[in-house]
C-alpha cells in the first residue's frame, strides 16, 4: 500500500479566513503545474551501505521538507545540492529510514539498518495488540489506505475484497446496503451465524461508522484468535479500530469530494413498442399452439389482432399519434417507452465532507471528526436520497504517572427514503417487469398517468408513497489504563453505553390513473394507510482486564491476560398502522381516521458475561505459544446450558531464527510456521429459541362480531438441547523474501460445525406438529486463503518510484457430514452433500422435425405451457435410459435424470491491487472478483428470461437473433414461448446445464490518480499536506455470463430481489443496481 505519502496539508487559519477555500484551491492548482525548484548551492556527495558495509543501490535520499532528492547508483553513491543546514532523509525498502544532518559537510556515509519490515507492524487482536512477528493465530489486517479517496455510502461497501476470506456479498447497490460479515465461508445450517463485529473493542454496527475514522480493520479468522470473545466469535471476529490523535501540535484536516454515480448495468430492453407487442403476441400464443391471441397485455392494456395491425401502421408512419382513443372513448397506446430511462436519472450526485481536528501534549490528547455524506437517489422521481452525519470526539488524559483516562463518543445519523409501489406491493423492478409495457407511455395527453404507469414508474412520478427510515446512534466509551511496575502490569477497564433508534414511517396512498379522458381511477385502493415504527436498542458493555508482561533471563518472554466482560442489549419495538388518510399528503398518524388499526410490539433482551484469559510465551522469539480461553455465559440458552468453556491453543515456530538457518536474508528473510486448534460454542442465535413461545395473532374468523386475538400451541422443543460448536484447525505460514520486499501469508483450515440445530428424524403425521429441531447435524468447511505483497522502489528520472502489488485469494467448500435424511431426499440436506450444489438435467439440444414425435412421451413430466411439443423445444438427456425425463423419486439413489450440474457457493474469491507514487504523483488500482459461482436464474428473473418468464415482460435485446427459428436452429434460446421459465417443472424453470450461468466476475473496484502538492510550496502557507485526486469506483466489470446476458444486470446483484426490504422472492437480479462513480476530491491538512 502507499507509504510515505502525505495525504493532508497544513494551512494557516488566517489565509483561510481572508480568501476562503475557493481561492485557496485555485491558488494551489495554479502552482501545481507551474512551480520548479533549483536554488541550492551546497553539494553533498555520499555513499549508502547496509550494516555489512555493502553499498545499496536505488536508495532514496531526500531533503527533509522538500521534494528535492535523488537515488543512489550501483555503487551506493549519490550527490545532491542542498542548503548547508539541510537534513537528509535516507530511505530504502526493507531498511529503517534514517535522517542525517548535512551540517556543512560535503561527504556523508550512511549505514542503514535492516528493518524487519512488516514484522514490527502491530496487529490488533482481542483485548490488545500483538507484534506481527509473534502472531500464532490466523489474523489479517488492513489499514485505512484501502478506504482512502473513495466515495463510500458506508464502511461495509469499502471492505469488499480487501481481506482474503472476509466474504461480503453486496447483493445490491442500495446506499443503506450493509450485508453481514462472513469469515471463511459456510457457518451453520442450523442457527446460522456471522462474524462478530467490534468497533474499538465493543460490539457495533459497521454501517453507521464514519469510514474516514477507521484506522484499521482486523479479521480474527481461526478459533484460537477469536476464542477470547467466546461464543460470539464462533465464526470469526472483525475488529474495527478508529484513528487517534497524532503526537505533536494541533492539526486540522479537511477532505472534500464530489462524485457522479450511475448504475453499472441496466436491462437493455427492446424499445420499439410494435416489436415488443409482436414478440409478446408470439410468446403468448405459443401456449395455445398459435391458435389464440392474447386479449390483454397483462392487466393494463387491451390487445387484439386489429390493435397489432394498427400498431404496425403507427410504427411505420411516425406522423400518426402515439395515443389514440377507440370507439368506447378509451385511450389506445402506440408508444415506444424506455421505462428504465424514466426510472433512473442519467447521473446522481454524491458528496463527502470530512473535517478532523487533533492534537496532543504530554498529558492529554484529543481527536474530533465530523462528516457529512450526501447521495442523491438514482430514481428520477420520488428519489431515494441518502444522508449520513457522523461525529466523533476522542480524548485522553494522563491523570497521574500511572493512570490514563480515555473517552470516546460518537454520534451517527442516517436517513434514507425508499420509494414504494402500492399497486401490487413489492419493489419497483418486479412491478416494471409485469406492467411497464414498452407499448404504453407514462402519461396521457391530459397529464394523467396511464394504467401501466400507475403500477410502476407512475407511482414514483406521483411521488407520495415510500418508506422513510432514520437511524440514530449515540455511543460513549469511557476507559482507563493503569500502568504499574514499570509498565509490566497494566489494568484496563472500559464501560460503554450505546443507544440506537431505528425509526421508520411508511405511507401508502392510492395512485390515480386514467384509461378514458376525464375519468380517474386508482390502484392500491386498499392501502390508504400510514405505518410508524419505533425501535430502540439499548446496549451496554463493560470490560475489566489486566495484563502482565515479563522476561526471565533474556530468552523467556511471558505475557498473561485475565479479564471479565459483561454485556447487555435490550430491544424494544412499537409499530402502529392505521388506514384512512384524510388527504394523500398527510404525514402523521393523527390524520389517519380509518377503522383498520394494527399495533405490534416487540421485545428482546440478552445478556452475556464471561471471564477470559490469554497466555503467551516465547523463547528467543523462536518458539511461540499462545493459550486462549473464555468461560462464557449467555442468556440465549436454557438455564442448565448457559455456561460453556471454550479453550484454544496455537503455536508458532520461526524457522529463520534457528541457529541452523543459514539462508541469506537477501533470499528468504523470515519464515514462520504456525498452527492452531480451538473449539467455540455458537452464541450467535436468536434469544428464546430454546423456550416454548405462544405467539399472539389475529384470528381469521369472526366471533361475536369481531376478529379476536388468539394464541395456540407452541412449537415442540425437545429436551437436552445444547450449543452448536465450531472447531477450527488451522495451519499457516508467514514467509518473507528478498529483504522483506516480498511477503507471503497463507493458511489452510478446516472448520467443523457440529450439533447443528436442525430437523429431527421424521415423525408420523399423528404427532400433529412440525418435527422438532435438535442438535442433529454436522458439517465441515475446508478452505485456504493467502496474501502476497511486493513492495519496491527504483529510480525513474532521478526520482524514486515506489510501488507495491498485493494479491489475495481465498477458497472454501463445505460438506454435510451428518443430517437426518436417511433416504437422502434431494429436497433437503443429506450426508455427503456439498453445500450449495445444484441438481438439474443435462440439456441435449432442441427437438427437430425428425424426432419431435417422441417429445410428448419423453417430456411428459415437463411443461412447455402448451399441449404440443414442437421443433425448437428443449430436449433433455435421458441419462437413465428409461425413455422419460424425470427426477425419479428425488433421492440420491434414484435421481432419475438429475445430476449435479453446479454449485452456487462463490469459489476462488480474489482481490489484487497495484499502487505507485513518483514525484508527488500517486496512483492506485484495485481489482476484485470471484473465480466461479454457478447461478441458475430463478423464476421471475426477468432481466435474464425476458418474455420466456411472462410473455408481457419486457423483451430483451440480448436475446434478439439468438432465439430459435427454423432458420436459426442452433440459437441459444429455445422456441419463443411465454410462461416456460415461470415456475415448477416448466421447460426453462427446471435447472439444466445449458442455461446455468457462471457468475464469476472481475471488477475494477477502485482506480485513483492524484497529486500531492510539493512540500516546498505548501509549507510556505504552513500546510503539511495537500493533495488532489480523481478516483473511480466500480468502473469496469466483466463476467463470462455477459456473453449471454450482456450488461442487463451486475454479476454481484444476481441474488433474490431487494433483500433490504423484501424476502427476496420476486426474481433474481430484480435489484437496486450497483453503482459506479467518478469522484474528484481534495485533502488538506493545516
Amino acid at each position: 500500500m502507499r507509504k510515505n505519502l502525505p495525504h493532508r496539508f497544513y494551512f494557516p487559519a488566517t489565509v483561510l479566513r481572508k480568501h476562503g477555500f475557493h481561492s485557496l484551491f485555485t491558488f494551489l492548482l495554479v502552482f501545481l503545474w507551474t512551480f520548479s525548484v533549483k536554488a541550492q548551492s551546497h553539494l553533498v556527495n555520499g555513499i549508502v551501505t547496509d550494516e555489512g558495509g555493502r553499498p545499496l543501490q536505488a536508495v532514496s535520499v531526500q531533503m527533509k521538507g522538500s521534494n528535492e532528492g535523488t537515488l543512489t547508483d550501483g555503487s551506493g553513491k549519490f550527490s545532491l545540492s542542498v542548503p548547508p543546514n539541510a537534513t537528509l532523509t535516507v530511505s530504502f525498502v526493507g531498511y529503517q529510514t534514517q535522517e542525517v544532518e548535512v551540517a556543512g559537510k560535503n561527504n556523508i556515509t550512511v549505514q542503514l539498518k535492516v528493518n524487519a519490515a512488516g514484522l514490527n507492524e502491530v496487529v490488533v487482536v482481542g483485548y490488545g495488540t500483538q507484534k506481527k512477528a509473534n502472531l500464532t493465530g490466523a489474523v489479517s489486517q488492513v489499514s485505512s489506505e484501502v478506504l482512502e479517496n473513495r466515495s463510500l455510502p458506508n464502511l461495509t461497501q469499502g471492505l469488499e475484497g480487501v481481506i482474503p476470506n472476509l466474504n461480503i456479498n453486496m447483493q445490491d447497490g442500495k446506499p443503506i446496503q450493509s450485508p453481514s460479515y462472513n469469515v471463511r465461508g459456510t457457518t451453520s445450517i442450523g442457527q446460522g451465524g456471522n462474524a462478530l463485529v467490534l468497533i474499538d473493542g465493543v460490539e457495533g454496527n459497521p454501517s453507521l461508522i464514519n469510514p474516514n475514522d477507521v484506522a484499521s480493520v482486523t479479521v480474527l479468522k481461526d478459533a484460537s484468535s477469536a476464542a477470547i470473545y467466546g461464543a460470539r466469535g464462533a465464526f470469526g471476529v472483525v475488529l474495527i479500530t478508529t484513528k487517534s490523535a497524532k503526537k505533536g501540535k494541533t492539526a486540522v484536516s479537511y477532505s472534500s469530494s464530489y462524485s457522479l454515480k450511475k448504475p453499472t448495468a441496466i436491462p437493455d430492453q427492446v424499445d420499439n413498442g410494435y416489436q415488443y407487442a409482436k414478440m409478446f403476441s408470439e410468446a403468448y400464443s405459443a401456449g395455445s399452439n398459435y391458435t389464440q391471441l392474447p386479449q390483454n397485455i397483462n392487466k393494463t392494456q387491451k390487445f387484439s389482432q386489429a390493435y397489432l395491425d394498427a400498431f404496425k401502421e403507427h410504427d411505420a408512419n411516425p406522423s400518426l399519434p402515439k395515443i389514440d382513443t377507440n370507439a368506447n372513448g378509451e385511450y389506445v397506446y402506440y408508444a415506444n417507452t424506455d421505462w428504465y430511462k424514466l426510472l433512473y436519472k442519467d447521473h446522481n450526485f454524491a458528496t463527502d465532507q470530512n473535517l478532523s481536528i487533533s492534537g496532543s501534549t504530554d498529558k492529554a490528547s484529543f481527536y474530533v471528526t465530523g462528516r457529512f455524506y450526501n447521495q442523491e437517489g438514482i430514481f428520477r422521481y420520488n428519489s431515494d436520497n441518502y444522508r449520513m452525519y457522523n461525529f466523533r470526539a476522542k480524548g485522553s488524559i494522563q491523570v497521574s504517572k500511572w493512570l490514563e483516562i480515555n473517552n470516546n463518543t460518537s454520534y451517527s445519523s442516517v436517513m434514507y427514503h425508499n420509494p414504494l409501489n402500492v399497486g401490487e406491493g413489492g419493489a419497483i423492478w418486479r412491478n416494471m417487469s409485469d406492467e411497464a409495457h414498452t407499448s404504453a407511455p407514462l402519461l396521457n395527453p391530459d397529464g394523467t398517468l396511464t394504467y401501466s404507469a400507475a403500477y410502476t414508474v407512475g407511482d414514483l412520478y406521483y411521488g407520495k408513497n415510500g418508506i422513510d427510515t432514520s437511524t440514530n446512534l449515540i455511543r460513549n466509551t469511557t476507559s482507563f489504563v493503569a500502568r504499574f511496575l514499570n509498565n509490566k502490569l497494566r489494568i484496563n477497564g472500559d464501560f460503554t453505553f450505546q443507544g440506537t433508534n431505528n425509526n421508520r414511517t411508511q405511507k401508502r396512498v392510492p395512485v390515480p390513473y386514467s384509461t378514458k379522458p376525464g375519468i380517474i381511477n386508482y390502484v392500491g385502493t386498499n392501502t390508504n394507510d400510514l405505518q410508524e415504527q419505533y425501535i430502540k436498542t439499548s446496549y451496554l458493555a463493560a470490560n475489566l482486564y489486566g495484563e502482565y508482561e515479563t522476561t526471565f533471563g533474556s530468552d523467556h518472554h511471558f505475557k498473561a491476560l485475565l479479564g471479565y466482560n459483561f454485556e447487555q442489549s435490550v430491544f424494544k419495538k412499537v409499530q402502529e398502522q392505521r388506514n384512512g388518510l384524510i388527504f394523500p399528503d398527510a404525514q402523521d398518524i393523527s390524520l389517519a381516521l380509518g377503522q383498520s388499526i394494527t399495533t405490534n410490539g416487540g421485545w428482546e433482551q440478552w445478556d452475556i458475561l464471561g471471564g477470559f484469559f490469554r497466555f503467551n510465551y516465547d523463547f528467543k522469539s523462536r518458539y511461540l505459544l499462545e493459550v486462549n480461553g473464555r468461560y462464557d455465559g449467555s442468556s440465549k440458552f436454557p438455564t442448565d446450558q448457559q455456561f460453556g468453556f471454550f479453550p484454544s491453543v496455537s503455536a508458532g515456530w520461526r524457522l529463520s531464527k534457528e541457529n541452523f538457518w543459514h539462508v541469506s536474508p537477501k533470499a528468504i528473510s523470515d519464515v514462520k510456521i504456525r498452527a492452531s486448534y480451538g473449539s467455540l460454542g455458537n452464541g450467535n442465535i436468536n434469544s428464546y429459541s430454546f423456550l416454548e413461545q405462544l405467539g399472539i395473532s389475529q384470528s381469521g374468523r369472526v366471533l361475536n362480531g369481531q376478529r379476536p386475538q388468539l394464541t395456540s400451541a407452541p412449537g415442540v422443543i425437545p429436551n437436552g438441547l445444547t450449543w452448536e460448536t465450531s472447531t477450527t484447525k488451522d495451519l499457516g505460514a508467514d514467509i518473507s523474501f528478498l529483504e522483506n520486499r516480498l511477503a507471503f501469508t497463507g493458511d489452510l483450515y478446516n472448520r467443523k460445525t457440529t450439533n447443528m440445530f436442525t430437523v429431527g428424524p421424521t415423525l408420523p403425521d399423528v404427532f400433529g406438529a412440525a418435527v422438532p429441531k435438535g442438535n442433529y447435524a454436522d458439517l465441515k468447511t475446508t478452505g485456504w486463503e493467502m496474501n502476497l505483497s511486493w513492495q519496491d522502489q527504483f529510480n525513474a528520472g532521478s526520482k524514486p518510484f515506489n510501488y507495491g502489488i498485493t494479491v489475495n485469494a481465498a477458497h472454501y467448500e463445505a460438506v454435510i457430514t451428518k443430517y437426518n435424511n436417511p433416504n437422502k431426499n434431494l429436497s433437503d440436506y443429506y450426508v455427503g452433500e456439498k453445500y450449495g450444489e445444484i441438481w438439474g438435467y443435462v440439456t441435449e439440444g432442441y427437438w427437430t422435425a425428425d424426432n419431435v414425435s417422441q417429445a410428448a412421451a419423453m417430456n411428459k413430466n415437463i411443461s412447455n405451457n402448451s399441449s404440443v411439443w414442437l421443433p425448437g423445444d428443449i430436449k433433455y438427456a435421458d441419462l437413465n435410459k428409461d425413455g422419460v425425463i424425470s427426477h425419479g423419486n428425488q433421492t440420491v439413489s434414484n435421481p432419475g435424470d438429475l445430476v449435479i450440474i453446479g454449485n452456487e457457493t462463490p469459489r476462488y474469491t480474489y482481490g489484487f491491487g497495484l499502487n505507485a507514487d513518483w514525484n508527488n504523483f500517486f496512483f492506485a488500482a484495485f481489482f476484485q472478483g470471484r473465480g466461479r459461482t454457478d447461478w441458475y436464474p430463478s423464476p421471475e428473473a426477468d432481466a435474464f428470461w425476458g418474455q420466456y418468464n411472462r410473455p408481457y415482460n419486457a423483451a430483451l435485446k440480448s436475446q434478439l437473433g439468438h432465439i430459435w427459428t427454423e432458420d436459426n436452429p442452433n440459437a441459444y434460446w429455445p422456441r419463443y414461448r411465454g410462461y416456460v421459465a415461470l415456475s415448477g417443472d416448466r421447460e426453462l424453470s427446471v435447472p439444466q446445464t445449458k442455461y446455468l450461468q457462471n457468475a464469476a466476475y472481475l471488477r475494477l473496484k477502485n482506480i485513483q490518480f492524484g497529486y500531492n502538492l510539493p512540500q516546498k510550496l505548501i509549507s510556505k502557507i504552513k500546510m503539511t499536506n495537500a493533495s488532489v485526486y480523481i478516483s473511480g469506483e466500480n468502473l469496469w466489470v466483466t463476467s463470462p455470463m455477459f456473453k449471454i446476458t450482456k450488461h442487463n444486470f451486475d454479476p454481484e446483484s444476481i441474488d433474490g430481489s431487494d433483500r433490504v426490504l423484501t424476502n427476496g422472492t420476486n426474481g433474481d437480479a430484480q435489484n437496486y443496481p450497483m453503482l459506479k462513480s467518478v469522484t474528484l476530491g481534495l485533502n488538506i491538512t493545516f
Binding site: 440478552w606 428464546y688 395456540s712
Partner: protein, 137 residues
C-alpha cells in the same frame, strides 16, 4: 484518600454489579406469551380457545368445497371428475395439528389459581372441538 486508593475503590465498586450476575442470564420473552402467562388467567384461556375456531372452514373454503356443483364456474376440471386421476394417493392426508393444539390446552389447563368452574368451561369448549375434529375425520 490518595488518588490511587480512590481508583482501587472504584475498581472494586465496578465489579459489584457482576457479583449478582448469574440471575441476569435467565431471560424470558415478553413479546410472546409463555405457557404460564396464558394458563394462569381466564383471559388467557379465552385467548387460547379462540384458536380452536380456525378449524371451522372459512367462507372461501365452503364455497370452493362445493365447486363441482353448478353455482360456480371453475377454470379447470377437478381431479375428481377426470377419469383415472382420483386415487388413494391423491389426498394429502389428515391434518393432526388442531388435535395437538386442543390436547395441549387440555393438558396444561390445570392452574389452581383459576376456579374449577372457569377451567371446566374452557375444557368443555376444547372437548367440543376435539369431538368435532374427530367427527370430521
Amino acid at each position: 484518600m490518595t488518588t490511587k486508593n480512590k481508583i482501587v475503590y472504584l475498581l472494586i465498586a465496578s465489579c459489584l454489579p457482576f457479583a449478582a450476575c448469574k440471575k441476569v442470564l435467565d431471560q424470558a420473552p415478553r413479546a410472546t406469551a409463555t405457557k404460564d402467562a396464558v394458563f394462569s388467567n381466564q383471559a388467557g384461556l379465552a385467548l387460547y380457545t379462540n384458536s380452536f375456531y380456525t378449524i371451522i372452514p372459512d367462507a372461501a373454503t365452503i364455497m370452493r368445497g362445493d365447486a363441482m356443483s353448478d353455482y360456480a364456474a371453475r377454470t379447470d376440471v377437478p381431479d375428481f371428475l377426470r377419469p383415472n386421476v382420483y386415487n388413494a394417493t391423491q389426498s394429502s392426508g389428515w391434518n393432526w395439528a388442531p388435535l395437538r393444539n386442543i390436547n395441549y390446552f387440555l393438558v396444561n389447563n390445570n392452574n389452581p389459581a383459576i376456579s374449577d368452574q372457569v377451567r371446566n368451561n374452557y375444557n368443555g369448549i376444547a372437548r367440543f372441538f376435539r369431538a368435532y375434529w374427530y367427527f370430521q375425520m
